[in-house]
Symmetry: C2
Subunit: 588 residues, 2 copies
């Protein structure tokens, strides 16, 4: 071993010990004939001192050290004259008697500090240097800790981690698969799994009634910001359970993660909110409930006053912005432009200012009396000094726009504190979504999601209105406005499954083609089962108080799906192409 202690270990109680440390030179500086070196490893930083009276060779060696040199030093722990209370090792330093340069280093292309001076591209290219920075080290340590706690909890609850294959079969449903040509089976391809969904359900058929896996998944999508072509899931499934059993098990897991990893207590049980309430009150199926600013429907109050914009739409909704009555015309104009951007798509923005002096001022003064505006404000739970913002249009669309506006204004007001955690379950999703365009129903989750048992009568109804009201036995785990996980109770009954295909307009032949394999497996005694999956990358990021996942993945890819560090993907040899019986059709 090249060291007796790590660089994060020594304390005042170690004074006068002879120690050997090894690590990287964070920085070296001369001060009045003495040389001070900050030596860094994964565990911390320890200050080294080479005295002015040290042997010449040692002083020379100390002065030859550049940033990121790897060295081994021997010396004695001494108490510091000027202590550094910000560092765990700040009470001591090492009086160095020997320096052994283990490896030199070129000058790194950016500073390896808490905040680096390197741009994103250069840091991505030299990821192995960026990973030396403390924020990334904390991120990966946190990731390890969460995975470990997660496995411990699930192991203690009887779950088996079972590895499912990565070389599977391409399926005609869902997002695009990455495929892998098979040399031994020319012209044929494996696919990389988008999730182990089929396999975990087969494991339930096989009787492994509590399955878990922290598993890589692959999706060949056009990448949006903060999406990765490969990502990690905590994937779980249980048999002989109902929805409440699944929720209890996994909120228990999340509670233990919050407690054991972050020292944070979250409510027991966690709040549950129906999808309908989430949409009505937050304009989102993944509501951020760290703050209020709820959406209120004011259709009845808003219509019939001669304001055509309100009168011509099915829904009028509003939120109250605390203390914002004083916003200027310019600020309101900017906000109006903001909601009219195509990403949000509102037609316009109506405001009502509740001035501190009790008067009201609104962009629709012409159509509403002050009393009528006050009545609206009261419905929105606005008080003196607040600003009411109103949008209108089709119900869900308008609620969604209000939801986005709500998040934006909360962000501006600093109400979205990443150190505050407000997890909850969203339940009672609609089972089916009607597509006006196609004139048919689609499964909101997937065609194996079970309807709620109490809605089975509705599910067998022929009326569109009834079918629209059927709720699914599905659930999402939401944290701070992010969907962190989701799942459902699966259909295990062949009749219900057949009805599902019927409702979705999937014929016997199509069902056989698309889902035949799993349907057949289910004929050999499928137990009632259900499960869920958590997005592990995002879970780690949110636990770390970050919105982006990239720092929580050791070697991420960029938005073009490239690993710029290893320069991948890349061309392969013609020999390889020939062996795979493939030709490229790319025009050179």
């Amino acid at each position: 071993m090249y060291r007796t202690h790590t660089c994060g270990e020594l304390r005042i109680s170690d004074v006068s010990k002879s120690v050997t440390l090894a690590g990287w030179v964070q920085r070296a500086r001369k001060l009045g004939g003495m040389t001070f070196i900050d030596l860094r490893d994964r565990y911390g930083i320890t200050q080294l001192v080479v005295g002015a009276d040290a042997p010449e060779a040692l002083v020379e060696s100390a002065n030859s050290l550049g940033r990121e040199f790897v060295i081994q030093v021997k010396g004695t722990v001494v108490e510091r004259q000027s202590k550094n209370p910000k560092m765990d090792t700040g009470d001591v330093e090492i009086a160095v008697s020997d320096i052994n340069i283990l490896n030199k280093s070129l000058t790194p292309p950016f500073t390896i500090e808490e905040q680096s001076d390197g741009g994103e591209d250069i840091r991505a290219k030299y990821r192995y240097l960026d990973l030396r920075r403390a924020p990334l080290k904390r991120a990966l340590e946190l990731r390890h800790r969460i995975a470990h706690e997660c496995r411990n909890y699930l192991d203690a609850h009887g779950f088996l981690e079972i590895e499912t294959p990565y070389l599977i079969k391409s399926t005609p449903e869902g997002a695009r698969d990455f495929v892998v040509p098979s040399r031994m089976n020319p012209g044929e391809f494996y696919a990389l799994p988008q999730s182990p969904q089929t396999f975990k359900q087969l494991l339930m058929v096989a009787g492994y009634d509590r399955y878990m896996q922290i598993v890589r998944c692959f999706r060949d999508e056009d990448l949006r910001a903060d999406r990765q072509p490969e990502f990690t899931q905590i994937d779980c499934e249980m048999s002989f359970v109902e929805q409440d059993d699944v929720l209890a098990m996994f909120e228990g897991m999340m509670r233990s993660l919050f407690k054991n990893v972050l020292g944070v207590d979250v409510p027991n049980p966690l709040p549950r909110m129906s999808w309908y309430d989430a949409m009505d009150n937050y304009g989102s199926d993944k509501p951020d409930v760290r703050f209020g600013m709820l959406i209120h429907e004011i259709t009845a109050d808003a219509q019939g006053h001669g304001f055509g914009v309100f009168d011509s739409v099915p829904y009028v909704g509003a939120i109250a912005v605390e203390g914002a009555a004083g916003w200027s015309r310019k600020e309101l104009d900017e906000l109006t432009e903001w909601v009219k951007r195509p990403q949000i798509g509102a037609k316009g923005l109506v405001y009502i200012k509740l001035n501190e002096d009790g008067t009201v001022k609104s962009s629709i003064d012409k159509f509403f009396s002050p009393e009528e505006l006050q009545a609206i404000a009261a419905k929105v739970e606005a008080k003196k000094g607040d600003l009411v913002l109103v949008l209108c249009g089709p119900k869900r669309k308008t609620q969604t726009q209000l939801g986005v506006l709500r998040l934006e204004l909360a962000g501006r007001a600093g109400l979205r504190d990443p150190k505050v955690f407000a997890p909850l379950w969203i339940v009672d999703f609609p089972l089916l979504e009607w597509s006006e365009e196609d004139g048919r129903f689609y499964a909101m989750h997937h065609p194996f999601t079970a309807p709620k048992p109490e809605h089975l009568d509705l599910f067998y109804s022929d009326r569109k209105e009834d079918l629209e009201r059927v709720c699914a036995n599905a659930y999402d785990f939401v944290l701070n406005g992010n969907e962190l996980g989701g799942g459902s109770i699966r259909i295990h009954n062949a009749d219900v499954q057949e009805r599902m295909f019927q409702v979705l307009g999937i014929g016997k032949e199509e069902a056989e083609y698309k889902f035949g394999f799993i349907i057949n497996a289910f004929k050999f005694g499928a137990p009632p089962h259900g499960g869920l999956a958590f997005g592990f990358d995002r879970l780690c990021a949110l636990f770390g108080g970050q919105e982006t996942i990239r720092d929580y993945i050791a070697f991420p890819k960029n938005n073009q799906g490239r690993d710029v560090m290893i320069d991948s993907p890349s061309r392969i040899d013609q020999v390889q192409m020939d062996e795979l019986c493939l030709a490229s059709t790319v025009k050179q």
Copy 2:
């Protein structure tokens, strides 16, 4: 929850409790008006009884149950009249008051018992049914337990599990890569990793000085028996360590696995054997040391007696087979044919029988006096009643043949008990292998394996004989004749690396092309480091007392790399091919 207890849980102390169980019907049988049902789940089997006096509907329901039906039953725990001491639940049975058929089952195509009547192909096709059998359930439970213990040990020793990417870059060295065409980067490919070797070394450069991962690896090889295109490794790397540190850490891990998973104590420290001793004494670099039957060189004794076969070769070696002096001519002929098979390739087999009466009988009586044969037998540590078997030829080749013969005879004699565990380290491998054919050296492991520090002088010598004597800082973990793991201390010094390329005849340009990326990363302060990887599938199989890995993988592929259950690989849509800018060159 569909149950109050599992089918493996109830004991005599639970008698008179009202319980609900759920599971699969293992079998149902009528006996004197009563119906007995064995109900099975992951945890065990519990006997259910429907009495002759039960309500008609219940009796009918019980009699309608087929094998593998999924049912939920309510009832009362009662003491059995005739207890079954072989079952954990054998003291009790459930007097059933209610049966709820959760799902019917088609008749499975083979019996779901400890031993199945199904052939390998049908069981592979219905893997989800085969997985219901107790031996496979035990295998996957064992696999889970080993992984969990392994992670706990390494976590307790400060290792971080860090996930490395699966979509990486194809490298021109080593076995064939599986590749993944990139739609977003037309004409370019990712590769699936054969191991995370590069990434774990980068993590050392990045300062994560204790890394571990249980990780899938991929190798597009022509499959031999018991090889899988995707397999799992326990992959580890450490910084600031020497060989002894690595061995101590990981034999500690193996010791804790043996103890905590199997309740087996293995020696502390584990035996270490040099590669040279392993070859000389066992004719294998992965010796099975559960039994003796060592190989002895008898070249000096064998030559100069006028037997041309011996006189014309560089090496003569022998083993003693205990108590086999009485083997018939026919048995010896069969054995001679066996060693002459092309897989072994011996030219012939010489024997010396040490009869119980003190006489000797040999196929080379003509050339050797009884005393000379006795002298040879003494060297081989044979005693009265034993049989000495002699092979000759080039040294390592002959030793290897003797090694294979040794294993075969030990197997026949029942000396390879899978419940006996004899782990050891093989160390002091040669760094380099001379290829007569190519007239150059190859790296025995890979070009980043460090020479032993005490052999650095030899390493810089220009003499072939010196270079052949250089030992590597490499090590294999061997269990019962299987190489379970291996690794090395890596070269971190640029000069040593340069010398390595020079010795291997790899020019600067070629080195840059093949290894440029990692060589450049090493310029920014690479610490001394080393590591190893264990083959997790085989580790599980050996811990389970099996020689084949297939039952220890939930969804394995067959020898053609096919998953016959999901019928993969398979053709993909032309649309997918077009999107990937690929055309098949397979002749239809």
